[in-house]
């Protein structure tokens, strides 16, 4: 199976070159890929990477991404089978970004860089060919989104006024890592006029509020991609990442009475949550959009021109997918 686009024929020679470049044995088992649990050996991953158009030196990144999505916490079974639209987003940190020319700047989610285009595509082909996520057969997403062709970005660490996503999660700045998020399509947030952290974060909260639907609560890992200009405005006010998260978390809470199904929309708090309140229709208890501030993940990337950010919603529900890291070997 392919994604519908032509592929590079996986000849023995091309595959051997990719395997050799990563320095690992062809038959080393990296993971079993849900939901069909196909065996992702180094060679099988290399075959899919060649088909996707990867250069041989991209293979370690693809292998790390496969390891990450096959981690139980990522819930690839759910991601591949859901009727929702989610796709596997790869966020790359560390020196490998320069070495492989992974785009972190202008046109971040768009075309133009071979590494971004083919690493994301290779992961997707692995999920189809080894995991069985065949569209219309196992993958029954109502809409899916274009990120299922490829979805791979780098963080622009040099433009980041804070520590990087990977460092924040315990890696060294010299480590190269991937972070995998089950992710909806990015939603661009336009704010040209805010010049304070509080003003700008209020705008960002407005977009985060409508993830999944405007009354969805208990949400988990979600990515907020700040452009360099927006990050500079926020950091210029002395705000840390933790300050941003706390502001957003506290602002994104609503009283139970506004979240009842049938009030401003037929969906709302699920029955098992409503049962906790004696009179939900009049209850003022605040329920947060996110389960904890830490679920709002911040990265800095995108072009230096333009005061935009992007919200990339996760696919989390209360027990679904989590952001998963792997070091690139």
């Amino acid at each position: 199976m392919t994604d519908g686009l032509p592929v590079v024929p996986p000849t023995r020679e091309r595959v051997a070159r990719a395997v050799e470049a990563c320095g690992r044995a062809a038959d080393e088992l990296i993971a079993l890929v849900p939901p069909n649990f196909g065996r992702a050996t180094v060679e099988k991953i290399a075959i899919n990477a060649v088909m996707a158009g990867c250069r041989p030196d991209y293979l370690p990144v693809v292998i790390a991404a496969v390891e990450a999505v096959c981690d139980e916490r990522f819930d690839l079974h759910g991601v591949s089978a859901t009727t929702n639209s989610t796709a596997q987003l790869i966020v790359v940190n560390g020196p490998v970004r320069e070495a492989l020319e992974i785009n972190c700047g202008a046109n971040l989610f768009g075309p133009g860089w071979r590494a971004n285009a083919t690493i994301g595509r290779a992961l997707r082909l692995v999920c189809v060919n080894l995991g069985g996520a065949v569209p219309g057969v196992v993958s029954m997403s109502t809409f899916a989104h274009p990120g299922r062709y490829t979805y791979c970005i780098g963080e622009w660490e040099a433009q980041n006024p804070w520590e990087s996503l990977a460092v924040e999660h315990g890696f060294a700045p010299t480590d190269s890592t991937v972070a995998l998020l089950a992710a909806d399509a990015p939603i661009t947030v336009y704010d040209q006029r805010s010049r304070t952290a509080a003003d700008l974060c209020a705008t960002l909260a407005g977009t985060l509020a409508v993830i999944e639907h405007h009354k969805m609560t208990h949400w988990g890992d979600t990515l907020l991609v700040l452009s360099p200009a927006h990050a500079a405005t926020i950091a210029g006010d002395g705000w840390s990442k933790a300050d941003v998260r706390r502001f957003l978390f506290e602002r994104l809470q609503w009283p139970v009475r506004e979240l009842v199904p049938g009030v401003n929309g037929g969906d709302g708090l699920p029955d098992h949550v409503l049962r906790k309140f004696a009179d939900p229709a009049h209850d003022a208890t605040l329920v947060p959009k996110f389960r904890a501030p830490e679920h709002i993940k911040l990265v800095v990337a995108g072009g230096t021109a333009g005061r935009f950010s992007a919200v990339v919603p996760g696919w989390t529900f209360s027990k679904g997918s989590n952001l998963v890291f792997r070091r690139i070997r």
Binding site: P10, V15, N36, G38, H77, G78, N129
Partner: protein, 93 residues
């Protein structure tokens, strides 16, 4: 020339088969599995009613997954496999 191209799929994977279907539900234990999607229980309530009306099932057992977002936990699967003849799963949406 086909040998020159390598297979991107897992060629050792065993094809999955559906379980054999019983000819009749008479005397069978039927498990109805709710996957925790909103209103899935409504559908399964009606299925239970119809099974009781129209078939000679021995027992109907109701089970529930903790979340629709993940596969059923191993313990729940083992519990169902060991104790039921027929499983009806209320799938999503």
């Amino acid at each position: 020339m086909t040998d020159d191209y390598l297979d991107p799929t897992d060629s050792v994977a065993v094809p999955r088969k559906t379980a054999p279907r019983p000819a009749s539900l008479d005397g069978k234990v039927v498990t109805l599995l709710d996957i925790s999607k909103a209103k899935g229980d409504h559908l399964l309530d009606r299925v239970e009613e119809l099974l009781r009306e129209r078939t000679g099932v021995r027992t109907i057992v109701r089970k529930k997954k903790p979340t629709f977002a993940r596969p059923a936990p191993d313990a729940l699967r083992a519990e169902i496999v060991g104790a039921t003849d027929v499983l009806v799963e209320g799938l999503a949406d």
